[in-house]
Symmetry: C2
Subunit: 148 residues, 2 copies
């Protein structure tokens, strides 16, 4: 959530490790690092951003590992991937239900409180089984509004 960006919630390594084990994933250094990065930032980073942040501390880290790890974490439900316009794939380590605002000026992504009734809609009559919902708003952030 927006507010948490300030709060700086620290997630301990023990907690990250517990989450990985809970998903039957071995808590390797690389996985702890990637999951930790996503839990400690609220900027919905790209693969490249994550790699660039971790690489200085872990010079042997491979970008392929970041790709692999993100795929595995997504499949395990520990991370969600975000598909937004004007950018390549991004990731979010914060799993509480929330929506996103994407600034079409600068590309920045903001978290929003989840704006929706509790349950997912039912499209069973169309043969569709809904598992997940993604709501995104597009517009201009304050800075970009002022620029125009």
């Amino acid at each position: 959530m927006q507010a948490q960006r300030q709060r700086k919630v620290e997630v301990t390594t023990a907690e990250l490790s517990r989450r990985l084990l809970g998903a039957s994933l071995r808590p390797s250094m690389q996985r702890l690092a990637v999951l930790g990065d996503l839990c400690h930032h609220y900027d919905h980073p790209t693969v490249d951003t994550i790699y660039s942040r971790l690489h200085p501390q872990m010079p042997t880290l491979s970008k392929t590992t970041v790709y692999n790890t993100l795929r595995i974490l997504c499949e395990a439900g520990l991370v969600r991937s975000l598909n937004i316009e004007y950018a390549n794939q991004r990731f979010d380590g914060h799993l509480e239900p929330h929506d996103h605002f994407i600034c079409t000026g600068c590309g920045q992504v903001y978290d929003l409180p989840h704006n929706r009734a509790g349950r997912l809609p039912d499209f069973g009559d169309m043969g569709l089984h809904v598992e997940r919902e993604e709501i995104s708003y597009y517009g201009l952030c304050r800075e970009c509004q002022e620029k125009r």
Copy 2:
């Protein structure tokens, strides 16, 4: 909308031309072809799909032109671009408000009736100016449910 996929709404070249002119865009063959393709199909095609469908009839058409044209049409609001997981960028020429269901098994995109109160929410207190909303549901279509 789902139902229209059967109805096969035919949009005349005159109407496509009118739309382009209305957006101050010269109604070239290429633009008419790309916009027409999007208006006559309900499959949310990729750049490559559009190019492959048009190329046999217009052998000189360049893929760069398809990219350029789609960008221009999106900027003009005549087409919307769609960002869904498990796939590269897709496009939709049907502008009536509607949502999407994306099958995580086969990647097919289905149109859904717009499931939302009339107005866009207001995030003015956060400094955000919302212009557009995108709601996507993820899950399995009938065929993919049966396969599992």
